[in-house]
């Protein structure tokens, strides 16, 4: 072969290394359509008949013909599964695969990767939970990674896998900067808030990480869009909540309750008034809690609104509960 220089390795065995004879330092460019390795400096075709590693068949999602001619399966997930390369025998189709009584000859598909079966189950569960609240792929990947780390550590082995999965999902949302409240995670999981909270603390200790504190602004866009409030009101509510926390009018209150009260105040001052009950439903706070937090911010209402806010109801006409 013209371009093949045999370079002697350290132990004396010849290591075939493909190089251009004129430019040994040049990195070769692969032209996969023609199956060539080309030197970029002089254009010499160095390697020939390189095996094409692209896919054999193109698959389109709309054609769901019964036969998928692809002879390879799904993409492997080597990061998470530890790469099992087992072969499984599927159910037979012809007549020869059934013995006398009508039972299939090769009965069960051997259990694949029994050590990771629980992990695969958990990944499926995480995917289902995340799908319910429309979480993007990056959060799901992060959750899977966290779960794998926790599972391998085995320090939380006794806990229910679903609880650990839910807690991992919560942590992943936090770490990505888009926290979900515990109640929102509870809504898509069968585990109680208490158990998820416990697992959350245990996982943080086991993985020795910490998460940022939640702020009121993290939830504004979600709550306001669920309530159908316009952008002006959302911005006003964000400003009110932030100001309230800065002025320390609501010490010891959960940021969710403060956010809900701020949304209530902003919506009551605008054209779209929402009741405490509606806001409580969306945010997962009781309406008495909203009332309590609202009472704390009401006295300083005039200072909390943004300076360029258009009032539909003036500040002194705001409901005082």
């Amino acid at each position: 072969m013209p371009g093949l220089n045999i370079v002697r390795g350290r132990c004396g065995d010849p290591l075939p290394k493909v190089q251009c004879p004129n430019h040994p330092d040049a990195l070769l460019v692969e032209d996969y359509r023609a199956g060539d390795m080309i030197c970029p400096e002089c254009g010499l075709v160095v390697g020939d008949r390189v095996i094409d590693v692209g896919s054999e068949w193109r698959t389109f999602s709309n054609e769901k013909a019964t036969k998928d001619p692809s002879r390879v399966g799904d993409a492997q997930n080597p990061l998470l599964n530890g790469g099992d390369l087992t072969t499984m025998i599927s159910k037979g189709t012809g007549a020869a695969s059934f013995d006398e009584f009508g039972n299939s000859k090769y009965q069960n598909r051997r259990t694949m990767s029994s050590s990771d079966r629980a992990m695969l189950n958990a990944f499926k569960e995480i995917s289902t939970m995340a799908d319910r609240i429309n979480l993007p792929r990056n959060i799901i990947d992060r959750t899977n990674n966290l779960f794998k780390q926790v599972y391998e550590q085995k320090s939380l082995k006794g806990r229910s896998n679903d609880a650990i999965a839910s807690a991992c999902l919560y942590i992943a949302c936090r770490q990505e900067g888009v926290p979900r409240t515990f109640k929102e995670i509870c809504a898509v999981s069968r585990i109680s808030k208490k158990e998820i909270g416990r697992c959350f603390k245990l996982i943080l200790k086991a993985l020795e990480t910490s998460v940022d504190l939640i702020t009121t602004g993290d939830f504004m866009s979600r709550f306001c869009s669920n309530l159908g409030l316009p952008k002006q009101v959302q911005m006003a509510a964000t400003y009110i909540a932030r100001k309230a926390v800065e002025l320390d009018l609501v010490p010891g209150r959960s940021p969710i309750s403060v956010a809900a009260a701020a949304i209530y105040m902003a919506s009551q001052a605008s054209a779209e008034k929402k009741t405490q009950k509606e806001i409580g439903d969306i945010a997962g706070v009781a309406d008495v809690t909203i009332r309590q937090s609202y009472r704390l911010i009401y006295p300083r209402a005039a200072d909390l609104f943004p300076p360029d806010f258009k009032f539909d109801t003036p500040v002194d006409k705001l409901p005082a509960l």
Binding site: G197, S210, P251
Partner: protein
């Protein structure tokens, strides 16, 4: 009616922290640490028949599903869980001496019921104390300053918890300035309060 007695009063000397790093004269602040609960365990070196205790003892509650008897004493106000193996857990005392006294009295009670009780292996396991700071505390700033040791989850609990590893004590800090300290004995609890005071003083809230 709960008896809260002020058992210890400590004078903590605090240096006010200033960026010009001049050390001011010591401000002496008196902080009352009130011990609310002391939990202790001890062993009677004999097997106890719970049914006999339940039938003949006074002020007892028998819990067969768990396998223990609760006996409440009036004089040092103490509740004890008595197991049939002879291990007894005493809760509700307000000082270490009182815990020992109550445990001894309890052992005497059991002796009177006819068991060959030997009072051994008395150990104070947990002490819970509360303390109030004269200022309110900004919890978010406190958590940020003490990042890995302090943890604050407003959705789960309104207090920030600070674990002191070498003292094995946990301090829960509330935004009103009250703190609760749990530790293995009274001395550790006092040391924990001394240790945490400067950290709390840094994050005091001036908005009250």
């Amino acid at each position: 009616m709960k008896i809260d007695c002020v058992c210890t009063s400590w004078y903590a000397s605090v240096r006010t922290l200033r960026p010009d790093s001049l050390m001011e004269a010591n401000n002496d602040v008196a902080l009352d640490i009130i011990i609310t609960n002391v939990v202790s365990v001890f062993r009677t070196r004999c097997h106890l028949n719970l049914r006999t205790i339940a039938l003949e003892g006074s002020n007892v509650i028998y819990k067969p599903e768990v396998g223990k008897v609760l006996m409440k004493l009036r004089k040092p106000r103490i509740t004890a869980s008595i197991w049939s193996s002879g291990k007894i857990i005493c809760t509700g005392a307000t000082s270490e001496e009182e815990a020992k006294l109550g445990a001894r009295r309890l052992a005497r009670c059991l002796q009177k019921l006819g068991f060959k009780v030997k009072f051994t292996a008395f150990k104070v396991v947990n002490v819970l104390a509360v303390c109030t700071m004269p200022f309110h505390i900004h919890l978010i700033q406190f958590t940020k300053n003490n990042r890995p040791i302090a943890s604050y989850e407003p959705e789960l609990h309104p207090a920030a918890s600070y674990r002191i590893k070498n003292l094995k004590a946990t301090v829960q800090v509330f935004s009103t300035g009250s703190i609760t300290v749990t530790g293995p004995n009274v001395r550790h609890v006092a040391m924990a309060v001394e240790q945490i005071y400067p950290l709390l003083f840094e994050c005091k809230s001036t908005m009250r």
